[in-house]
């Protein structure tokens, strides 16, 4: 791909303090992660971005298997009539679905929906497959593209087409469905913290913010470096809503037919946007080692000198054999140019090897998170680099957590709430539960409710909006924030 030959090209990234949205756009496009597709609102995920997505897929697949799920694939085209069977669902999705009406010159007898999500088509199949309690639970996941037409779009964060996974499970009892819903939320939280090094607030969505068709939606919410929230994954308890709409019934042990209980849950390519905005800095992207396509990039110094490239190749082979993702940058560019490029691309560890290092049987390691530079012996380098990468991973989570925790402010009234979110914080507060109050907060502060955390310890005794006095057990502890 085309490279910019100006050694100062990092300066082309907008100042993140001055213009965070432009900084984001610069980082995702100039690092070769993404480009704009020709149809408005679509994106091309370029190899560097897609490699991150593949690592995310591998890590999640591992966790889905461990929790007893299997992958499958359902058709993308859904008869329009299916969408209308669940009343809330059609209301939520109808305005933004893409419709196939023709094939070649022929009009189709029924228009088809390009899936915005697959509850309806999967429900249809489940009604065919499930007959008895012996068939339960069904725990299937799908990796797929989905389409939701959006007015305002940004690469990874909100695009007309995106990639995601959607889990769809069916259970005998309400308790099992609720347990599954929360288990998968916890899988997401643990994955995000362990792999992406992003701490997540978890909790339940308000009715206003829940999935169209669910009884309850749970969410993982991440704080971006501008203090906005990014909903990063959701897990829904669907109750019997879709079972009733799609006539999924099973013969239970009591020899009577019952509707089962369902869950669904998903994360998407949006997570790549979360990585950018949770860890990036003025020099560009900063990737946690666990999700970095290249964990180590080796830049040869004085590459033309005898023995340098041989030593570089030997070190690279050793690290690869130890399971470390290594790239040797042997391009015909100056080391300084390469340093800038790989810093911008967020590679966790840069390794420099030159004639003097070879003499001393050492190399130089530079870490992306702190920019610290340190020499390392080539002896036992595999273990050194592994520990080094572990430390970077750990430090990035600590840093993101400290940032997040220092940007959560408890507020008691609307002025405090507005001040908090306007200066890049999440506001934690009390809410009486009325939709009118939630709407008023949005209108007056442009902050939306993010979640009601599982820990419902009160942080006050009045609703932040209407000021209603809340007695014990009344109202909700809740987070409000501006959001992507």
């Amino acid at each position: 791909m085309a490279n910019n030959n100006d050694p100062q090209f990092v300066k082309e990234i907008a100042d993140m303090q001055q213009d965070f949205p432009q900084w984001y756009t610069d980082v995702v496009t100039k690092t070769g992660m993404v480009d704009y597709g020709p149809v408005k609102g679509t994106m091309v995920i370029r190899p560097y971005g897609y490699a991150i997505w593949e690592i995310i897929q591998d890590e999640l697949n591992k966790r889905f298997r461990q929790t007893g799920h299997q992958n499958a694939y359902f058709p993308m085209f859904i008869p329009y009539s299916f969408l209308t069977r669940e009343a809330e669902h059609v209301e939520g999705f109808a305005p933004e679905v893409a419709l196939v009406t023709h094939v070649g010159n022929e009009e189709l007898p029924e228009k088809l929906v390009v899936r915005p999500t697959s509850e309806t088509i999967i429900g249809t199949m489940y009604s065919k497959w499930i007959q008895s309690w012996r068939d339960l639970p069904v725990k299937i996941n799908q990796w797929a593209n989905v389409v939701r037409w959006e007015k305002t779009t940004r690469p990874f964060l909100r695009t007309s087409e995106f990639l995601w996974q959607e889990g769809h499970t069916v259970h005998r009892t309400a308790e099992e469905a609720q347990e599954e819903t929360l288990t998968m939320l916890e899988v997401y939280r643990e994955f995000a913290e362990t792999v992406l090094a992003i701490p997540m607030l978890t909790g339940r969505k308000t009715d206003k913010e829940k999935f169209a068709g669910a009884d309850a939606t749970y969410t993982i919410e991440a704080m971006m470096l501008d203090g906005k929230s990014l909903q990063s994954g959701t897990s829904h308890n669907l109750g019997q809503n879709f079972a009733k709409a799609f006539d999924i019934k099973f013969l239970d042990k009591d020899n009577a037919l019952h509707y089962p209980y369902q869950s669904s849950w998903g994360v998407s390519t949006r997570l790549i946007g979360a990585l950018v905005m949770a860890h990036g800095d003025q020099r560009g992207l900063a990737l946690p080692p666990m999700v970095a396509p290249y964990q180590v990039v080796i830049v040869p110094i004085a590459a033309h000198k005898g023995g340098v490239m041989e030593k570089v190749a030997e070190v690279a082979d050793r690290l690869k054999a130890a399971g470390i993702r290594v790239y040797v940058d042997d391009r015909d560019q100056s080391p300084g140019w390469k340093f800038n490029e790989w810093e911008m691309k967020g590679v966790p560890c840069r390794m420099e090897i030159g004639p003097r290092d070879i003499e001393n049987n050492t190399c130089v390691l530079v870490r992306r998170d702190t920019h610290d530079k340190t020499p390392a012996s080539l002896e036992g380098l595999e273990d050194t680099v592994k520990a080094y990468l572990d430390d970077i991973q750990h430090n990035m989570l600590l840093k993101a957590t400290a940032f997040r925790d220092s940007h959560i402010v408890d507020v008691a009234d609307m002025d405090e709430l507005k001040a908090a979110v306007d200066s890049g914080n999440f506001a934690r507060t009390m809410w009486c539960g009325a939709r009118s109050c939630e709407d008023a907060v949005k209108e007056r502060t442009s902050a939306s409710s993010r979640c009601m955390p599982f820990d419902q310890t009160p942080v006050g005794d009045r609703c932040v909006c209407c000021g209603k006095k809340l007695s014990k057990g009344e109202g909700y502890t809740i987070y409000f924030a501006k959001a992507y």
Copy 2:
């Protein structure tokens, strides 16, 4: 999922000699590989089928990486005008493309094509990314769903939506593009033989059968057990056709702008259909170990007796640790019922462990390909099973190759050709090269040209159709067969 409780349910599979198409349908649906989607011509790939697809993906990704390719993802929606830029391409695909005309209630300004293949959208992006010879080669692969509306559909073999990979490369010279085209054909051939245990005829397609927009199409063709051919993968030399249509130009070393040369290549979920029809038998599916979701299924005998399930678990853990894909069938069904089920599902190796085996420190192995039953010591079982699976893999390729080779008949005229293909053979013959002769063969025998093999040793001296005398170097050695 629902299980059939009749121990004789294997009898529900149609007789493959009597009704091969019904046998195929029974096998793919009753093994839980696939189901029909609600929209005509679509399929649901169920977990057992999808697990095979995931193994195919892993094996191909390994080979694509080794040959220097990277994965990426391009938008599914293509502006209709893009399709029309390459004249042959639009002619080939326009009648079968699904068109998105509306979002919600709003009509789109330009109708969108749901990708039937991605040359046009990828060409558009390449024209933006490629400026100089330094940017070449570009070697990108995409895993995606594609849509081609079909009148007659069959699961895996021909469906309106299917999953595939499509490689799209760009090169400085015509020679490099041709080399890439043939390299990827060879990757497919080696993969199919090594992993799927299916021997492939390779060669070039006639102009009639080539990809719409290519200079030349190369193919891997497999023989199914009914003697029909299944085109299993294609690799296209696109020449400069799409570069010209999409204005992809690069500044070469001579400081002048040139059009580069391109290739594209793909295989799809059709390969799962190939597996079924190349290896199956009257009892159902037979999977080569390398592509089997479960390579070994352990069926406990007298499972209720003390120590049996413990030993089974211990053996399973040992095999798993050795990298073997194992499933323990501990369901509450009789061993005989389980034997039938796993035979139908094509598991390469069944292992039986009962109290007497435990006493003798042995188990019983039964192989799916030959139905041979043999005792094996539990000592060193990992190595025994690995060798056993290798032998099954090897034997399945040998068997399929012997079948294929014994069903290729050299023919000299139309009567012989018709007799050969009507009795389940491929016909190898000479063809003058005229489209009219190729069309006449199709009309009179329903056989189509499959490929002109790389080895062009003549097998006669007259065109099979028009009888024209072919002098040295004139005409083509070619395969005709009925085909899926």
